[in-house]
Subunit: 239 residues, 2 copies
DNA sequence: TTATGGATACTAGTATCCAATAATTGCTCG
DNA sequence: CGAGCAATTATTGGATACTAGTATCCATAA
């Protein structure tokens, strides 16, 4: 059963003693959860983690608290801390919220983003084309984040994208699972180009239309995944 | 001088040893920050807090980590933990995000919320009228939350409102500060009624218009506050 | 006025405890 | 052979005491 769904590729850097350990460990665990090295339902032990990371329990607890606030993990008293299953309800609400936010952002951006910001966007998309050619999934996804952040930043609301991060984490879990049969990068790039074209044309309506179409792609493979990996999900129509 | 801007009114319940202490302490500190018992820039000491609450440092650190994730507090290495000043930039981005979300919610609600949900909304507004008569600010604000949650819940996206909580915390800080010269409750209630009227009429456009007008009221006193209490804010045009 | 040095206070992290409880294991008894 | 019970183990939540490193404040001296 070779369903190791993931292309890790992300190096695990050693811990930097000059930076607080808690946030560093959080990032490591976020990576492991997103890439399904740690799978939904799996149980984590504070002692095990602290031993394997070579730190005490304290910073591990710090990290687990943060993960709990982000909804990636849940503490079960006297039993352990388990990786949450992907809650379909909150994925859907996340999609709703993100769509509302991004549509509002892109409308504003069409009205008043500066040409220099649009230039940046075009460069990011070019970089994405290179990433697709080299089949570098990780780089592609990270550029995708950067592009959407730039949309928000171009109207002075980078903070909006930042506060959507926790919401996006849940969507990203789905996204990493779908990497094998994801929407082809070429199509996503075309959609990005369509959005930027609308910005250049200062046409808010078609910018929104293009964005809406783009976002509808993001979770397109979700139903297939739920059928293939029911144990990873929660709140599905399992009845 | 006598700028204790607050009507506390919120009893501080004793700690319940059957529930994890960290989240409880977080709630207590959130209340103190929102009500300006703890003021922006003020420094918290883990030792002091643990002594005054009668617990060890561990659950206090737990609470401070959570507050840090919510952006209400910032750890200064080797110095202390300070209550963040209210960042005008993130308040504005919060407003933007919330407006985008609530406009999308209310449009959907006009299209497909169930009559029973609308009934609930009407009851909440009635309760608000009673709260205004009794000048019970705390109850009014809490009913306000409940109403907006019900808007989202009526289209099955209660989670949206839940994920907006952290954003709303920053806006709430402003809100509590403005209690003295806030928008009169009667006006807010009229706006609520206008929104619900539009839902009953299944008219998404006027629902959105009414909501937009309502939300624009929320931060109306912000500029005045920034002038009166510049120390509480960050990123203002102080130059 | 400026610099220096010391006292102080603070978080970050480590290392051990203890308490309560869920899960598991193994034993006993029918 | 199976059911029920008791002991064991592993877990988080919490408490306590300690070290390290650093920022801050203040008095004193040049």
């Amino acid at each position: 059963m070779g369903d190791s769904v993931v292309t890790p590729g992300i190096a695990e850097k050693a811990l930097d003693p000059n930076e607080a350990l808690g946030p560093q460990i959080k990032r490591i665990l976020v990576q492991r959860i997103l890439t399904n090295v740690l799978r939904p339902g799996e149980r984590l032990s504070e002692n095990e983690l602290s031993a394997s990371l070579g730190v005490s329990r304290q910073p591990v607890r710090d990290a687990l608290i943060r993960l709990g606030e982000a909804g990636l993990v849940r503490a079960l008293p006297q039993r352990g801390t388990e990786v949450t299953r992907i809650d379909l309800q909150s994925v859907d609400s996340g999609r709703f919220l993100r769509e509302a936010a991004e549509l509002a952002v892109i409308r504003e951006a069409a009205l008043r983003s500066k040409p220099s910001a649009i230039k940046t966007m075009e460069q990011i998309v070019s970089a994405q084309e290179r990433a697709v050619k080299q089949e570098d999934h990780a780089a592609f996804l990270s550029l995708d984040d950067e592009l959407h952040f730039t949309f928000a930043a171009s109207i002075g609301h980078g903070d909006v994208w930042r506060t959507l991060q926790n919401v996006k984490l849940q969507m990203d879990r789905v996204r990493y699972l779908s990497l094998p049969d994801a929407t082809p990068g070429k199509l996503l790039i075309q959609q990005h180009k369509a959005i930027i074209r609308a910005l250049n044309a200062r046409d808010p309506d078609s910018a929104q239309t293009a964005m809406r179409e783009h976002l509808s792609e993001l979770l397109s493979s979700l139903p297939r995944l739920v059928r293939k990996l029911p144990d990873y999900f929660d709140g599905s129509a399992s009845a």
